[in-house]
């Protein structure tokens, strides 16, 4: 059994399918209210800002900054025993919404509040991709 199989895998539903399918295809998709244009995440059936039900799905730029982060050292789930230490980040996307994710290929001491990141995608199944992030290089 791989570590990934032991962690919770998202369940694709009618509501959230564009998010997971989008990530499997390499795009970070967000819901955007057709009425008030507010972005929202995680997906919901109704806009919490204005109450409208009509929703569009739009690709996000994939860019954002680390709002906060932690490095999990103690594996409190059996599922993550072989993954520690791993980081969990709260990323504020350029569209203004925040997502929980992880930064790949980063030394723990490279993480910092305010650092820019860009989305990368791990394909779990043909229809589920998991948006993750990579540190953006300051000069690029």
């Amino acid at each position: 059994m791989s570590t990934r199989e032991a962690l919770i895998v998202p369940e694709v539903t009618e509501l959230n399918r564009p998010y997971w399918n989008g990530a499997a295809a390499g795009a970070l998709m967000l819901q955007r209210c057709v009425e008030c244009r507010a972005y929202r995440h995680p997906p919901t059936v109704m806009c919490g800002a204005c109450g409208a039900w009509e929703t569009s799905w739009v690709p996000a730029s994939g860019g954002g900054v680390i709002y906060s982060y932690t490095v999990v050292v103690h594996p409190v789930h059996r599922a993550v025993e072989r993954l520690v230490p791993y980081n969990v980040v709260l990323v504020e996307l350029d569209e203004g919404v925040r997502v929980v994710s992880t930064v790949v290929d980063a030394a723990p001491d490279a993480l910092a509040i305010g650092r820019r990141v860009t989305a990368v995608f791990e394909r779990l199944t043909p229809e589920i991709g998991l948006p993750k992030f990579r540190l953006a290089h300051a000069a690029s």
Partner: protein, 397 residues
Amino acid sequence: MRQGQPVGLRRVAMVGAVGLRVGTYGATPEHELLVPVLAEALRRARLSHRDVDGMVFTHPRPYCRQRYFSTHIQSYLRTPMSFVLEVVGNGMTGGQAFRQAADAVASGRVDVCVVLGVSRESHVPTAEHMAETSSKAVGDVDFHTPFGINPLTWLALAAQRYLVDYGGSTEMFAEVAVKNRRHAALNPLAHLVNPLTRADVLGSRLIADPLRLLDCPPRDDGAVAIVLVPEERAGEFTDRPVLLKGYGEYHSGTHMLNDRPGNLLAFPAIERASSAAYAMAGVTAADIDVAEIYAPTTNMELIVAEGLGLFPKGRAGAATLDGETALDGHVPICTSGGCQSRGHPPLVTPLYNIVEVFQQLRDEADRRQVPNARLALTTSELGLMDAILVEIFESGD
């Protein structure tokens, strides 16, 4: 905001509050932990089991063997009642049980209502608890948990912001643990009582950066019984009642984090619920003599204390280093020893907080007594401060 006591409701008094020493009780089942505590609370309030009109229970964990728990316990008493209820409120389960019982007394539905809580954790390995219960319970199961997040991870995200936004230090977190351990050493209900230094905390292993083992609570068992009556009848049961003066409740509409979760150091739930409680009690934060804060990790004690207005934003850490939140400080916080040292049986931690202020306001806290304590505040919360309950109590003698 509504000011003063609600019109048309009876005032509520606490006349008994008893807790089992927090710790690990092995194979002892929930009902056997709870019933002796119930019996002792009734005895101390000069009540027979036949006098109980109503009971409100914390709903047990999913791994409790005994189903229909409240019915089962009521059958121990062989007493008919008009009001029996089990309450679920995640981290504020105990606080919600207390509020339901208080509301039942205030409305006149019942006269003698007992709040009963039992939280049995230690027989389930932490990994199993986290994987099967907590991790799914503390965030969006599809959008948060696939990243290996757990209850402590969320609190660590707030801790990082405390360090960066306020120029805080892990010494501040460590001092919360040290101070709480000193308090616990004076509390017969506390689990962990051996002396602790800042170096011990800072040298303990990392759990989720920057939180270390000794910033975190142990997993504990516990049981509490609290007897509530209308204030006008309190004298029948004790000459030192503790009065519920105010309360506030606020649910912010987030689940750990939503799309725009705002500032992880200034949660609207804390500020709104405490403002409501102060207004109802007719007091301000400056009037509070002792505060029992529901804070699983050390950093959250600082963040909640600031949200309650006990300290300006970003100042609770330095105040803790200066001893201001210790027993002899000007705002003693978690005189019980708090979640880290008194212990943290989550379903009933809110009730242990109330037991502590019951003792403080009756001048029964012995060597950890805050001199002349008249007004006390308690909190409980769920998620990442998604919702919070605040109660304010006054000494009634």
